[in-house]
């Protein structure tokens, strides 16, 4: 029973990271109808920036905050400069632009910081709680993610900007008519997504080690979480991310051969959800008129 609880709690911790990535993915999907395949590499790059700042400042929290702020600004700039020109281009062009971004960030990180693994210290104290069930880092990850998600929720629910962003995503034309600057709302969405991705990256770095390919698996689980929860429901994406984390940990332990097939599990989950329940568990079914 202890093992089961340990697995579940560790699953919730890694699931929190997937939830962050899933939320970032869904945020951009809602606004633009696209999956940002570069989300993982952008988060990885932000994490490297945090690591580089940590080398000079020596304070992990300070570097973390600066890195998140920089990611927010970088996200806005990327949307304005790189993604905007293909805004109305066919879906193929947009996917290729995302793939281009993915290549740029992955190889830039390798170029700047080399392909050796780095260690980023945890944001949380080493000996905080005394428990055999969960490590302090994992507990910190779960609580911190919940806090971030709560703030994001309040931002979208109770602020004017949040409302404008939701309006721009739901109905760009009407939003424009009532004076919402739809283009800037999209850019802001990219900024927020990139900042949330950066948070996910810094939280997961002490678990998976910091290297240029660290996020490809995490991004896949994030996608799986987003799809499972419902790709047009931010709350669903968070729930989906947590569920994927827990399910993955159970599968690793209890399914024969599961320990070496984590990514295959994500593949099966993605294809399965897309085939049998494309709207996800909490999403709306979208009916397209032709």
């Amino acid at each position: 029973m202890d093992l089961f609880l340990q697995l579940t709690l560790a699953g919730l911790a890694i699931g929190s990271v997937y939830a962050c990535v899933a939320l970032a993915v869904v945020m951009i999907y809602q606004a633009t109808d696209h999956f940002n395949f570069a989300q993982g590499e952008m988060a990885m790059f932000s994490t490297f920036v945090a690591w580089a700042l940590y080398q000079t400042t020596g304070s992990i929290w300070l570097s973390f905050l600066i890195a998140v702020a920089l990611s927010f600004i970088a996200g806005i700039i990327i949307e304005r400069v790189i993604v905007k020109p293909v805004e109305n281009a066919p879906i193929f062009n947009q996917i290729i632009v995302f793939i281009g971004l993915l290549m740029i960030f992955n190889n830039l990180a390798g170029w700047f910081w080399e392909h050796t693994t780095k260690t980023l210290p945890s944001l949380f104290p080493e000996h905080g709680i005394d428990s055999t069930l969960i490590s302090t880092h994992n507990l910190g990850v779960i609580l911190f993610t919940l806090l971030i998600l709560g703030i994001t929720f309040c931002f979208f629910k109770f602020t004017k900007v949040g409302l404008a962003m939701r309006a721009a995503a739901a109905n760009p034309d009407s939003a424009r008519l009532v004076g919402v600057s739809v283009g800037w709302m999209l850019a802001l969405g990219w900024g927020l997504a990139s900042a949330i991705g950066a948070i996910g990256g810094v939280l997961v770095a002490p678990i998976v080690f910091l290297e240029p390919n660290m996020m490809s698996g995490v991004l896949l689980y994030g996608f799986a979480g987003a799809l499972l929860g419902g790709v047009n429901s931010p709350g669903g994406a968070v729930a989906g991310g947590l569920m994927v984390g827990v399910l993955e940990n159970w599968a690793r332990q209890y399914v024969p051969g599961g320990s070496e097939l984590g990514l295959t599990f994500a593949l099966v989950l993605i294809v399965g959800v897309l085939m049998f329940k494309p709207a996800g568990l909490f999403g709306r079914v979208i009916i397209k008129r032709v």
């Binding site: 999956f35 879906i91 062009n93 290729i96 281009g100 593949l267 993605i270 897309l274």
Partner: protein
């Protein structure tokens, strides 16, 4: 009713020209260059598959590295464990990857553009892990992979690399001609109609499910043949060779060569190998020049702005302007 014969003079002339150029180049190429061109052609065959699927049929795949890997492993396993002649394994690799692609085409039927891209992305990311599984280690060689010998020269006096080069070049020319005939046939028009307007295509009596799954199968088959030649050229396969980035690089080759074109596959393959080499040398010149794949990422994005149909598309457009 008379149907236009797909074997036109232009096709025959291009085919003969391609084969003659290939044979002529063989005499000037060193063994290493021959090896490089063979690799480029192996990627080119896979890119041809990607062009048919994405460029002509409008289905996305960022997961062709999976089929590329499957073709390579089928060849490697048959040579290592069954002692087959290397070239005899090619039809089997083609058949196996056709079936894989055909089967993967079924879930793909229910997925539109973006979701298909996502599913194939997942496939590509998961591939190395599947190849490393303990249960299959006896056959796949696990993390170490499999080593075997390159095929013997097809006739005496030819070096191993030159012989493989020749075979690959001729197979590539045949596959390109085959792809041309397919796309200029009734089926080819159906394939393109599905890309342009699936609903209109189905009202014209085109069986969407059959055509889309079969196109996926053909595309995967080409990727598999490419993978098989890649394995022969390197005489080695290992799981980490076929990581997600191979799928990305294939896509880059395809876009640079021209995704809605057949000759673009050749250009894309050559770009993959030689472009990378020159970009590598270029980046070694100075500390401030980024490594090749950063440059290519930027190139990819710029192409989407200015030349979405790649080199072959730009050539076609320039030619049309000259003729005007």
């Amino acid at each position: 009713m008379n149907r236009p014969n797909p074997i036109t003079k232009k096709l025959v002339a291009s085919f003969v020209l391609l084969v003659v150029v290939g044979i002529a180049l063989m005499f000037v190429a060193s063994e290493y260059t021959a090896y490089q061109v063979t690799t480029a052609l192996a990627y080119g065959i896979a890119i041809l598959g990607l062009n048919i699927l994405t460029g002509y049929n409008g289905q996305f795949s960022i997961g062709h590295s999976a089929f590329f890997a499957a073709g390579a492993y089928v060849t490697a396993i048959l040579i290592t464990f069954a002692g087959w002649h290397p070239y005899a394994t090619l039809p089997v690799a083609a058949a196996v990857t056709f079936c894989m692609g055909f089967l993967f085409g079924f879930p793909a039927l229910r997925l539109e553009g973006l979701y298909l891209a996502l599913a194939t992305f997942a496939l590509a990311v998961a591939t190395p892990q599947i190849l490393k599984v303990d249960a299959l280690e006896h056959w796949t060689g696990g993390v170490q992979g499999l080593f075997f010998d390159k095929p013997d020269p097809i006739f005496a006096g030819l070096s191993v690399d030159h012989s493989l080069y020749l075979v690959t070049w001729i197979v590539f020319a045949v596959l390109m001609a085959g792809a041309w005939m397919l796309l200029h046939s009734r089926s080819g028009r159906a394939i393109m109609a599905i890309r342009d307007n699936p609903i209109a295509a189905s009202t014209m009596g085109i069986n969407l499910a059959l055509y889309k799954t079969t196109t996926f199968g053909v595309s995967a088959m080409l990727a598999g043949i490419g993978g098989a030649f890649f394995a022969l050229a390197n005489s080695f396969v290992s799981p980490d060779t076929f990581n997600f980035f191979i799928a990305v690089y294939l896509l880059v080759g395809s876009v640079v060569g021209g995704i809605i074109s057949i000759p673009g596959a050749l250009l894309g393959g050559l770009f993959y190998v030689f472009g990378q080499e020159y970009a590598e040398e270029f980046s070694n010149l100075s500390e401030v020049i980024p490594p090749p794949w950063v440059t290519f990422g930027i190139l990819l994005i710029l192409m989407m702005y200015f030349a979405p149909f790649g080199i072959w598309g730009a050539i076609g457009r320039g030619w049309a302007r000259l003729k005007r």
